[in-house]
């Protein structure tokens, strides 16, 4: 048989493509549920490690129920909406105009104080980068941060998911002393000592590092209305507590008299 006859070439390629397509779609459909489960668990794992709880993927579900007390979606004015948080896809939200974006937020309760976990999403050198950053209940101090990436250069940009890069974020602040939003920058060549808004960059991974800086600034900025409301709320609560204490104190003094 002449293998190079056009009809045979057509026949061969059609058969090959059909076989390959069937094989691949079959595996894809069969394995999809397992893959999605892995991804969902990994997200929970990341959310937990942003507040300093490191668990294996298998235990992520249980611990998520235990530590994450609340999760909801905010609109651009920082108001709670009743959108289902699992339906919000950050990669799609970041492409929308600012006014139409929905911002997911997770709240965790660690040792009796609330931590606010903000999902992040941005671009590195080769593809998307993402992560979670958690803030203390003063809405200013970073409690923890985790990052991950799809395809950054191994040994360089890919190191953003390592402890030595993530740990220095702890204790940094997103507002300056005047209360203006400055975010946190990844500084090439290393951040200065006592710099509350900078962490060390990765040599050779500058574009990924800059991506992290841009991602933090862009994402945190969207939550500012919510932070402001919450801070005002906290202030009122503080004053109320103060007054309560005063009243109690007066009562005891009166009693003693």
């Amino acid at each position: 048989m002449d293998l190079n006859k056009n009809t045979y070439v057509f026949f061969f390629s059609t058969a090959m493509v059909l076989v390959v397509a069937a094989l691949l779609s079959f595996t894809s459909i069969k394995l999809k549920p397992l893959q999605q489960k892995n991804i969902a668990l990994e997200n929970k794992q990341n959310i937990l490690s942003s507040v300093g709880i490191y668990v294996s993927r298998e235990e992520a579900d249980l611990n998520y129920e235990k530590y994450i007390t609340d999760s909801f979606v905010l609109d651009s004015d920082g108001q709670k909406t009743d959108i289902d948080i699992s339906s919000v896809q950050l990669n799609k939200e970041t492409k929308k105009p600012k006014k139409e974006q929905n911002m997911p937020l997770y709240i965790s309760n660690i040792d009796g104080s609330e931590k606010y976990i903000i999902p992040l999403r941005g671009t590195g050198l080769w593809g998307p980068i993402w992560g979670y950053i958690s803030l203390d209940n003063d809405m200013n101090t970073v409690y923890g941060a985790v990052f991950d990436h799809k395809a950054e250069t191994p040994g360089l940009g890919a190191e953003i998911n390592r402890d030595f890069f993530e740990k220095p974020f702890n204790g940094k602040r997103i507002f300056d002393l005047e209360g203006d939003f400055v975010s946190i920058a990844v500084v090439k060549g290393g951040a200065k000592e006592n710099d509350y808004h900078g962490v060390d960059g990765i040599s050779g991974g500058t574009i990924t590092s800059d991506g992290v800086t841009a991602m933090l600034k862009e994402r945190l900025d969207k939550y500012l209305p919510y932070f402001e409301n919450k801070m005002k709320e906290n202030e009122v609560n503080d004053i109320m507590n103060f007054i309560d204490e005063d009243i109690n104190l007066n009562d005891t003094i009166n009693k003693l008299n």
């Binding site: 070439v9 061969f12 390629s13 894809s28 040994g155």
Partner: protein, 216 residues
């Protein structure tokens, strides 16, 4: 082809495995797969993982192409190779994502990069198309090992000298070498140093193995 049935591990077949380790090494002699040797040898771990993936893809692709060798129209053979390789790579990727998620995260882009590895294409064209499945399988194994040891050797030096670690373990720090004022050589992390390291390996190899020196 002789009519007599050849033993599974005859001298000739053994040579298929041992040859690519030295005399006919895919990287240092055939000069195939240099691109991946530059890209993923910053650390040992990705190099090891890449070696295993190439081992699987190359040996299976060799067998598949060898089985089909009497049916592949030569006019579209390169496209057929590409489809075979790409299918295998996607299958590997899907299975890893479902069953060993951590490994698949570790591999990330490399799985896709296997498709572009010239060694695979080169072996399919040069060997599998003209040989029996068993021989092609051995050829795949041999070439993967030949590729692997270079990759791992380069990664060993680059990780040790560039980051002071081996397989992520801080060897130099534990040995206390930094106390004497030693510093990691940041240049080792950059791709050009992989080329220099490969060059040094070729040099050493040719000093040892006179067969490789071209006659003047």
């Amino acid at each position: 082809m002789s009519q007599k049935k050849e033993a599974l591990f005859s001298k000739k077949n053994k040579k298929l495995i041992t040859d690519p380790l030295d005399d006919n090494n895919p990287i240092t002699v055939q000069v195939l797969g240099i691109c991946s040797a530059l890209a993923i040898t910053v650390q040992l771990k990705p190099a090891v993982v890449m070696s295993f993936s190439v081992l699987f893809v190359l040996s299976v692709a060799n067998v598949v192409v060898s089985l089909l060798r009497k049916f592949i129209p030569s006019r579209i053979r390169i496209i057929v190779f590409l489809v075979v390789i790409a299918t295998l790579v996607i299958l590997v990727d899907e299975v890893l994502k479902a069953y060993v998620f951590d490994v698949s995260k570790e591999l990330s882009v490399f799985v896709g990069l296997i498709i572009t590895n010239c060694i695979i294409m080169g072996r399919l064209e040069a060997f599998a198309l003209g040989n029996t499945p068993w021989k092609s399988f051995l050829d795949g194994i041999g070439n993967s090992f030949g590729y692997a040891w270079i990759l791992i050797a380069v990664a060993f030096f680059r990780e040790l000298l560039g980051s002071g670690t081996l397989y992520g373990y801080p060897v130099l720090e534990k040995l206390g070498i930094y106390n004497f004022g030693y510093e990691n050589n940041g240049m080792m992390i950059l791709p050009p140093m992989a080329l220099v390291t490969v060059g040094l390996i070729i040099w050493v190899q040719r000093i040892r193995n006179k067969k490789l020196i071209e006659p003047k």
